[in-house]
Symmetry: C2
């Protein structure tokens, strides 16, 4: 019976939650997520994907009060949400809510930071809105998992639009009725199919979610109405886009259990289902001083979904390389690395990498978890060595530390910001909870002070 | 095997089709559809739904080169597509592609007319782009029918975004590769759930589709990539949003069979599944000189989907009245009419209408078509009269004539335009195929010449 009113109850929670109702550990996790997100946005901000989208959108930009992170051009608020979300997902380096495989920060952070340039907001309020947006998208995603993603829905986009609407609605000070409508307007915009993986539209799915969620909140503020039961209605979000949804997960223990406590950060800029492959290959390479030329065959055993998502045998571009178990195993074994440079077109087309990649054989094993890998290497001399990686580095079981996240941020920002500005931005991010104006953080992503 | 490349083949058809490849009868049907659409947009342009959306969007408007039909304020091109689509659906008076129940003109016409104010285009080219956009959305809708709508997808929105993208892509002169991407970017934005019926977000679904399709075309023009097989891929549009799709319907007899030949126009501004109810009640009222007070009971037998969509027993607002078999039967019997005035909040809350509505009983009958109705009236004196309406007025079997459409347009425009401007606009619409600049038609929707 309670599940009949999850939209109402979630909306009520969102508008009623005060800053001090969020535990300090969750607030810190929110800051970790935002530091990671800013690094991803800076790292991706000059990608061709952003250039093309910016060229398409710019002629229609309204008042230019919001900033393209790491670049400095200004566009209107909804376009900034879209383009910054786009940039922050391109490197596939963003965070992951492990129970749902949602990348929670992208749509939510892009929406609230764009809004913070529209109307000044204290850092502590922006942090609350971000945490509540993440809570919204992850709980809704959880309610429709695992059937939703398995059916071909790009869950970060479909649920992200709801997270962005919730977060923007909190910052706009919507009342409970308006928040209910905002969730409804977002629910009916939920879109994004996984056929887009490997093309620019993969990141566009999330960008579109950030934009749509923000607009849902703006519309709801004007009392634009939607279904009152958009999540739970018979022809609502959960039943139309989900398979056997468990609606009670949207509200169970609201305000007690927090989604950010299950948030992980990627050490490698590629599909998370391949991290155990990289981790294991790096372990074997280091332990046995492997040389690529000596390797006769590489056997990977992975969950079927991991192979469906990321089993491209012959990737042609850097983007496709991020979804290739074969390529990631090859670079990890040959180079010992799987960073941004290893997912460029150049690296994917490197003859030596291709030669090793062609010796990689994959096998599906439904008994494994989606994050697990068995790796066996047969040398040309017949010697066999293997490793089982139940939990890759960066998972909840082996999390990145604050220092790890700072190092990752510095790596991502190196080409854009001078070292002193990198340090300044890291310090600002850790002090978000006390910043008088959250948009200070966005201004700090620019290579130099704006003229 | 052919179905493996429907996205490619459809894109190729869209960019290769010249004006003279479209039969004269279809071009005329396109003009009928656009005249009807313009009337609907004018009729809905002052609705509170448009006011609220405009208030929300206006602060972010870019260069104001596109017009709100019937009003005259200007906004940027994508916002005009959105707001004009919104206006044109509000009255539920738009056209219907009978095989799919798509309202084809709304998303496509709104997109191409907004574009025509951005870059001047001859009427004949706008007409071609419109016809091809309608072809696209209806064929894709047909491929996923009937499972798609039955599952809760608002088919005009989910397929409309593809139609809008195709039409805008034609006008922008995309090449075949870009058109393929435009369809892909549109496919991954496909959204809209029928839980929104009865709220402002019902029309927003279509508005969002017009906007998204237009942006997909602009993005594709910048070579923003998507899946190359967005419609047919295993995790593409048809398999994720459809149930047992018949992909070959997207390309079978392309350029030979035209969707517009199955397009119908509504004589009543409410859910089309209720038109047979109104028609039959009007027939019984006229034949038997019925007085509402004499009626003891009204029995309606309809297809189960018709009742699911439009079976609201106690509507509270004009919007809900459009989805109430009970209300429509009551006004048709009591007043002999079911026009715009009969779907206002005032009429829905009228005590005498409610009294009669409460005597209406519905029954589902899966043996009927979705457009069919059996109506039986029992007078208080025990007399029973009944009628069976297999095809309501306005269906393909009993189509509205050109003169009927002109009269409908004049009714819709009466409150906005002086009679001479109504006549002028009707004449312009019939001459679209020879207009040097299609946007002349939009300027003609304004109450007076712009200052």
């Amino acid at each position: 019976v309670a599940a009949l009113f999850v939209t109402r109850d979630l909306a009520q929670f969102l508008v009623a939650t005060r800053n001090d109702a969020i535990p300090a550990g969750i607030r810190h996790e929110g800051q970790r997520a935002l530091l990671n997100w800013l690094g991803c946005a800076i790292g991706g901000c000059r990608d061709e994907t952003v250039e093309r989208a910016r060229t398409a959108l710019d002629p229609f930009s309204g008042p230019r009060c919001a900033t393209l992170i790491g670049r400095g051009e200004r566009v209107d608020v909804p376009s900034a949400a879209l383009l910054n979300a786009l940039a922050s997902n391109i490197l596939d380096f963003d965070d992951t809510h492990m129970p749902t495989v949602i990348h929670p920060s992208v749509p939510v952070a892009a929406a609230v930071f764009a809004l913070a340039e529209h109307q000044p907001v204290p850092g502590t309020d922006l942090l609350r809105s971000f945490i509540l947006g993440v809570e919204t998208e992850c709980r809704i995603g959880d309610a429709v998992s695992p059937g939703h993603y398995a059916a071909g829905w790009h869950i970060t986009a479909t649920c992200g639009v709801l997270g962005a609407a919730a977060a923007a609605g909190v910052l706009l000070g919507l009342n409970a009725q308006q928040m209910r409508w905002a969730l409804g307007i977002a629910a009916t915009q939920a879109s994004g199919i996984t056929a887009m993986m490997g093309s620019m539209s993969k990141s566009y799915n999330m960008a579109h979610a950030a934009h749509g969620g923000l607009m849902a909140a703006f519309l709801a503020r004007e009392n634009f109405t939607s279904s009152e039961q958009a999540l739970e209605a018979p022809r609502g979000f959960a039943h139309v886009l989900g398979k056997e949804p468990q609606l009670e997960r949207i509200t169970d223990n609201l305000g007690k259990n927090w989604a950010l406590s299950a948030n992980a950060y990627k050490p490698f800029p590629c599909g998370i289902v391949l991290h155990a492959v990289i981790d294991g290959c790096q372990q074997l390479r280091a332990a046995h001083h492997l040389q690529a030329d000596d390797i006769g065959r590489v056997d990977l055993r992975l969950h079927p979904l991991a192979l469906e998502l990321a089993g491209k045998q012959a990737p042609q571009t850097g983007l496709e390389g991020k979804l290739s178990a074969h390529h990631t195993a090859a670079v990890a074994l040959k180079l010992g690395r799987a960073g941004v440079a290893e997912f460029t077109d150049i690296c994917v087309r490197d003859k030596a990498v291709i030669a090793l990649r062609n010796r990689v054989v994959t096998q599906a094993d439904a008994a494994l978890s989606e994050m697990e890998a068995h790796i066996a290497i047969t040398l040309k001399n017949g010697q066999v060595m293997s490793v089982h990686v139940p939990h890759a580095i960066g998972t909840l079981e082996r999390p990145m530390s604050d220092a790890d996240l700072e190092a990752k941020f510095a790596d991502l920002a190196r080409d854009t910001l001078a070292p002193d500005r990198v340090h300044n931005l890291i310090a600002l991010a850790w002090s978000l909870d006390t910043l008088p104006d959250a948009s200070t953080l966005i201004a700090a992503t620019l290579p130099a002070t704006r003229a």
